[in-house]
């Protein structure tokens, strides 16, 4: 089943360029995603890192055009295999969702349908996108469950989500996401709700699948340990913008943005009991001056050179981009 994916287009599988997703709320305009660009090649894992409200989940939802009201993608393009997802007619984007691009969410209890047997839920994807008969789809669902490590898969097809443990539900989500052999998997905090021993199993499973099938992965996470162990490249987001973008080793060994540096020093590390370094302030990241650097008020560097202006993303080393006046 795992034939190598056919490439119909040269260049990265996914290219996000100048993406802007704004929310038009009664309280005013919220620029949740503000001019975000990145790319992911086949077989590669890009991690999108940041704290709550930084726009990482809205970025991923924008790719599948799933942003809830009153949000809207206002600008940019999202090229998937050479075609712009933002300008596809609705019937076509429906053929991409769950088929060529699929998504797994943080909370498997709320993202599975509680009143449908899990076999039905996986089979539905296959019937819809692959045109399989009910019997074929159920047989295939059992095979998928086996592949993601659920024991006695055929018997579990008739289980409802509440009969499974958290780790097993996440495996069901993954089985469903992989049903159609997607070229791109968007994993939004896939292990945050799970215990560490189960988290290790799930990340291992995702890594194996990505390697075997040249599947590209957009991994959204706030856990720098998970990111370090699983990503090829990392984009750090703050207040709707990417503030640093680099290969994973580069980012962890020589972080250049004060926010990235702050995140790396504020996590407790094994064997070190010194008081933790902190980033002052709260992570809402609403800049007082509309066009200044959003991190200005929390930044440990005193920045004369232009705190009142937003710095551009600059390449300071090959492949290492930073949005800071002082980097």
């Amino acid at each position: 089943m795992y034939a190598p994916l056919k490439k119909t287009h040269n260049g990265p599988l996914l290219q996000v360029r100048g993406l802007k997703s704004y929310f038009f709320t009664r309280a005013g305009l919220v620029k949740a995603v503000d001019d975000v660009s990145f790319e992911i090649a086949a077989g590669e894992t890009l991690a999108l890192v940041g704290e709550s409200g930084c726009g990482k989940s809205i970025t991923s939802l924008s790719i599948l055009r799933l942003i809830p009201e009153p949000g809207r993608v206002v600008d940019g393009e999202i090229l998937f295999d050479g075609r712009d997802l933002l300008r596809m007619p609705p019937t076509e984007i429906r053929r991409v969702r769950g088929n060529k691009i699929s998504m797994i969410f943080q909370e498997p209890m709320t993202s599975l349908n509680p009143v449908l047997k899990i076999g039905e839920q996986i089979a539905e994807v296959l019937r819809l996108h692959r045109g399989m008969s009910n019997g074929e789809a159920l047989a295939q669902a059992a095979e998928l469950l086996m592949r993601v490590g659920i024991p006695a898969a055929e018997n579990r097809l008739r289980d409802f989500p509440h009969q499974l443990s958290g780790g097993q539900r996440q495996r069901v989500m993954i089985a469903m996401a992989l049903a159609c052999d997607p070229q791109l998997l968007i994993a939004d905090e896939p292990t945050t709700a799970l215990d560490v021993t189960i988290q290790a199993q799930i990340m291992e499973l995702l890594a194996n699948l990505a390697r075997d099938r040249q599947m590209a992965t957009l991994l959204i996470s706030h856990d720098l340990g998970v990111v370090a162990g699983n990503a090829d490249r990392v984009a750090v987001m703050y207040a709707g913008k990417i503030v640093e973008y680099a290969a994973v080793k580069q980012l962890f060994s020589s972080p250049a943005h004060p926010y990235t540096r702050g995140l790396l020093t504020c996590i407790p590390r094994l064997g070190n009991k010194d008081p933790l370094q902190t980033i002052q302030g709260q992570p809402e990241g609403k800049s007082k001056s509309a066009d200044g650097c959003a991190f200005l008020e929390r930044c440990p560097n005193s920045c004369n050179s232009g705190g009142s202006k937003m710095p551009q993303l600059r390449e300071i080393n090959p492949g290492h981009f930073v949005r800071c006046w002082r980097a």
Partner: protein, 327 residues
């Protein structure tokens, strides 16, 4: 060492209503736990979800009655006291909860929230109350003006500061902190961990720190107890436990921590399978189906929590085989 808090063979089970035609099942949430907390000490309690660590915290505070066992606070068994007799002790033992959104009353101002325990315990003259509230807020790094605002006006980290101020209001000796930072963003988590340590030194507090994040637990704890399916499987000083685990479950938990360093090779997943259902725990040692060291003995006989010298305990038939040369 005279213990501030000593719990002996504490147990709690819940009756789970059986499905139609089957008998009601007993869920042993806490199955005979003994622990000690010394004055000024932090005891970390780790374990995966459903292992009974939160129930244990509630049993200690008398928020839920125990089936059997003793909770000795400075030698007095709290589990035997009536509600009225218990009241003075409630002042000595306070709790901080995981979710700062649901643990503060949304209809009370922060000032009212902080004054309520002062009134109940008759701790502060009416004329002094405003000043006391301002003091408390300043201690946790908030401005006095916060007293007139409502919880929804604050971010998660600020709300957790308010929860800490509420716990401090009655000048307790022991605080049970149940996952106090796991709902917070990384940069805020570090601020709260540092705050907890500062007030510990200042007020000579003891903590029972319940968490699933092993790096956080190591950072704050003097001693660490590891729980699995309602029982303590290992209890040792933080140094001993993290450097030389004597129980295979502890060893596996440590191996599963994602390290924020991309240069560390991904370690093989050490544990297979999910945490078993506490409704139907395995025979013998409840860890044996997942344990790489398991033998026939483990299937048949439950290992006792044995003293292994050096103030450490482990419940394993094969403690001597657990790797002894971790860095």
């Amino acid at each position: 060492m005279t213990a501030l808090l000593e719990i002996c063979d504490l147990a709690k089970s819940y009756r789970m209503p059986g499905k139609s035609g089957t008998k009601a099942a007993q869920l042993k949430a806490v199955a005979g736990v003994s622990l000690q907390v010394a004055p000024g000490e932090t005891l970390g309690l780790v374990g995966e979800s459903g292992c009974g660590k939160s129930t244990l915290g509630k049993l200690i505070l008398g928020l839920t009655p125990a089936d059997r066992g003793e909770v000795l606070y400075r030698g007095t068994d709290l589990a035997r006291l009536s509600a009225r007799q218990l009241r003075p002790y409630r002042r000595q033992l306070q709790m901080i909860f995981q979710d700062p959104f649901s643990s503060l009353n949304p209809r009370m101002t922060v000032g009212e929230t902080l004054i309520e325990p002062l009134i109940i315990h008759r701790l502060c003259a009416t004329s002094e109350r405003q000043k006391r509230v301002a003091d408390l807020l300043n201690q946790v790094g908030l401005e006095s003006a916060a007293a007139n605002r409502y919880p929804h006006e604050f971010s998660g980290g600020q709300r957790q500061r308010i929860s800490i101020a509420r716990a401090l209001a009655v000048e307790p000796e022991l605080i049970v902190a149940d996952e106090p930072v796991s709902a917070l963003d990384l940069s805020v988590q570090a601020q709260i961990l540092n705050l907890l340590r500062e007030i510990q030194v200042e007020h000579k507090l003891s903590y029972l720190f319940i968490a699933h994040d092993l790096a956080v637990v190591e950072h704050v704890s003097d001693r660490v107890a590891v729980m699995y399916l309602g029982k303590i499987v290992e209890n040792a000083t933080a140094d001993d436990l993290y450097r030389r685990p004597q129980h295979p479950y502890t060893e596996a938990l440590l191996a599963a921590i994602p390290q924020p360093d991309p240069n560390l090779a991904r370690r093989p997943v050490p544990l297979k399978g999910d945490v078993p259902s506490p409704l139907n725990p395995p025979s013998g040692c409840s860890f044996h189906p997942r344990c790489p060291y398991a033998s026939n003995l483990c299937q048949q006989q439950e290992p006792a929590l044995l003293n292994l010298g050096d103030k450490r305990q482990a419940a394993c038939h094969h403690s001597d085989k657990i790797c002894t040369n971790r860095s």
